[in-house]
């Protein structure tokens, strides 16, 4: 079975990808890190940056399983303030 998730980009990662949001199709039982690997393959220059993930608005190490409709955000270390 194939599921779809939403991938969000902000700031530097949005500039690299050229978009703020992509829909990604993945096999069921994929992890956030699997989704990330798929995105990296398409946009290798993301790897020049130190990246953080969030799954459904919570910081993640990338190990949990994703489910249909989940929201994965990929961004550089934050710099607000």
């Amino acid at each position: 079975m194939i599921m779809q998730i939403k991938v969000l980009f902000f700031g530097a990662t949005a500039d690299i990808v050229g978009s703020r949001e992509l829909v990604l199709s993945l096999p069921e039982n994929s992890k956030a890190i699997d989704a990330f690997q798929k995105v990296i393959k398409e946009f290798p220059s993301l790897e020049k940056h130190k990246l953080l993930f969030a799954v459904n608005e919570e910081y993640s190490k990338g190990e949990e399983l994703l489910k249909e409709g989940d929201e994965l955000a990929i961004f550089t270390a934050v710099s607000g303030g």
Binding site: F10, T76, A77, V78, S79, G81
Partner: protein
């Protein structure tokens, strides 16, 4: 985007921030001090001149993270109320980018909580700043691993 919980107020806004209004939102009657941080746009960073800044946020997650920090601050410090507002979009030199106000019965806890809150905000809240220079621009990346 804004949220009120208990006596606390947090918001993300693209409009200029009225510093006094934010601080004066929180004046519980058992308090005697409000400590307010006014973070504003710096012209010179390590000698290089910035023309203006652009802030961007993962807004829904940023509000959640700020709320988490405020709740943690209440556990760690003897404080009564917190108000945090972060500006987004294009900011000119000298404009306020972030305000953190902490009300407490006594000032010491308010100073400590305010310092802790800005340190944690800069480390964990998903907001990014782009510095725009005469000859280019760069998204600033924090040092969190």
């Amino acid at each position: 985007m804004e949220k009120t919980f208990g006596k606390n107020y947090i918001a993300l806004t693209t409009s200029p921030i009225d510093l006094g209004k934010i601080a004066r939102r929180i004046t519980p009657e058992n308090c005697g001090a409000i400590v307010t941080l006014d973070g504003f746009v710096r012209r010179f960073t390590n000698g290089r001149e910035t023309l203006y800044l652009v802030y961007e946020a993962y807004e829904s997650m940023a509000i959640k993270e700020i709320e988490r920090l405020v709740r943690q601050a209440h556990e760690k410090f003897f404080i009564e109320a917190v108000s945090i507002v972060h500006r987004l979009g294009k900011l000119e030199i000298g404009e306020t980018s972030v305000v953190i106000s902490v009300a407490a019965p006594h000032r010491k806890a308010a100073f400590e909580a305010c310092e802790w809150l800005i340190k944690e905000l800069k480390r964990t809240v998903p907001i990014w700043k782009k510095e725009v220079y005469e000859d280019g621009e760069v998204w600033i990346e924090g040092d969190r691993q």
